[in-house]
Symmetry: C2
Subunit: 214 residues, 2 copies
């Protein structure tokens, strides 16, 4: 066996790195095959198309992530006892954030920027829009801080990220067309989440254990 990985894997590695650095659209197959020291046609031979290569790059990481999620859920469910709500949510959330915001010493290194590249079609576009409407979000953060005092600026910003994430995802993905009903649900969901952040956490982020549900 040789010291260098097979062509197929070298392409995957190079593609992941370049996609994360420059985005899918901006990265050409010629860049990828050159970095992988492979021939241009090798991409289509091994993967079929650029689209399929992108999918393969994601699949390699998401398989591991979802395996970790299900393992954690299995562990919480073993012994026939139904797990607490918080345990279920931890199985869903903790592995995901460990992959994107955790230690940077293994293959997860590019997962976060890969998610970025996935989430927005083009970094430039997303950055431009964020900057353009940043004053709107600042006004809302201020209004929330007035209506609900007691959150540090850092935590308020994080909570607002949760809300904007839920809203953005719902705007794009939801299939129901009853805007008012969805909005009512999201307002209630967000308000409950915000209030729980004030009532449970210390004003500054001192370490804590989740005791709210015990």
């Amino acid at each position: 066996m040789t010291a260098t990985p097979a062509t197929c894997d070298r392409i995957l590695d190079a593609a992941e790195r370049l996609f994360a650095e420059e985005g899918f659209y901006a990265t050409s197959l010629r860049q990828i095959t050159q970095a992988a020291e492979a021939n241009l046609a090798a991409v289509n031979y091994h993967f079929g198309s650029k689209q399929a290569l992108i999918l393969a790059v994601f699949r390699r990481r998401l398989d591991a992530l979802n395996k970790a999620r299900l393992a954690r859920l299995d562990q919480a469910q073993e012994g026939n006892a139904a797990p607490e709500l918080e345990d279920v949510l931890e199985a869903l959330i903790v592995p995901a954030l460990a992959f994107t915001h955790g230690s940077a010493d293994d293959g997860h290194r590019f997962m976060r920027i890969l998610m970025r590249a996935f989430a927005d079609r083009d970094d430039q576009l997303h950055r431009a829009l964020s900057a353009e409407y940043a004053h709107v979000m600042r006004r809302f953060a201020s209004a929330i801080a007035t209506a609900l005092p007691g959150l540090s600026e850092r935590r308020l910003r994080r909570q607002l990220d949760f809300i904007v994430g839920a809203l953005t995802y719902t705007m794009a993905e939801s299939t129901s067309s009853d805007a008012r009903e969805i909005a009512d649900d999201l307002v209630q969901f967000a308000a409950a989440g915000l209030r729980s952040a004030v009532s449970v956490r210390h004003p500054d982020g001192a370490p804590r254990t989740l005791e709210i549900h015990s």
Copy 2:
């Protein structure tokens, strides 16, 4: 004055429609200019680049959306009385969902599919990944239903969309690198939101007024 709009506006209209139907990447400038009955070079003359055209398409709608948000927030804040938390959140959320899930008779018609095109780099990729890992989300929906009975399937799915949206956005956007702290916050945020959905709403979605905060 003529009956047909200026070239610049015809390009914007055609671009918005085609982007929404086929995505940014799949739509060529030649398609757009042909549909707008304009010359190919007119795009670069009026907007500078394809990237700038995409930005202009979004800006036209997002300007209106954020204006509506701020107007609603102004209205809630008038009379020197600090608005309730729910009123602030409604100003943020209701106009957004009205734009994407509201009446389809005006220029907002394509906003939702435009958001789709914005959120995922390529519909095919997103669909493929969703289908591939749908069983994971189904298992989590089931575990949540067990831990927290009383939500209809439809509402549980919607709440789960909120959580996945917040998680996805955080994975891509958050700058902090403390995975455990963010995860703790999100778990708590999601749990509080879920519990409030059970305790306030009728089991089936009967009309209601938001009375939780009064």
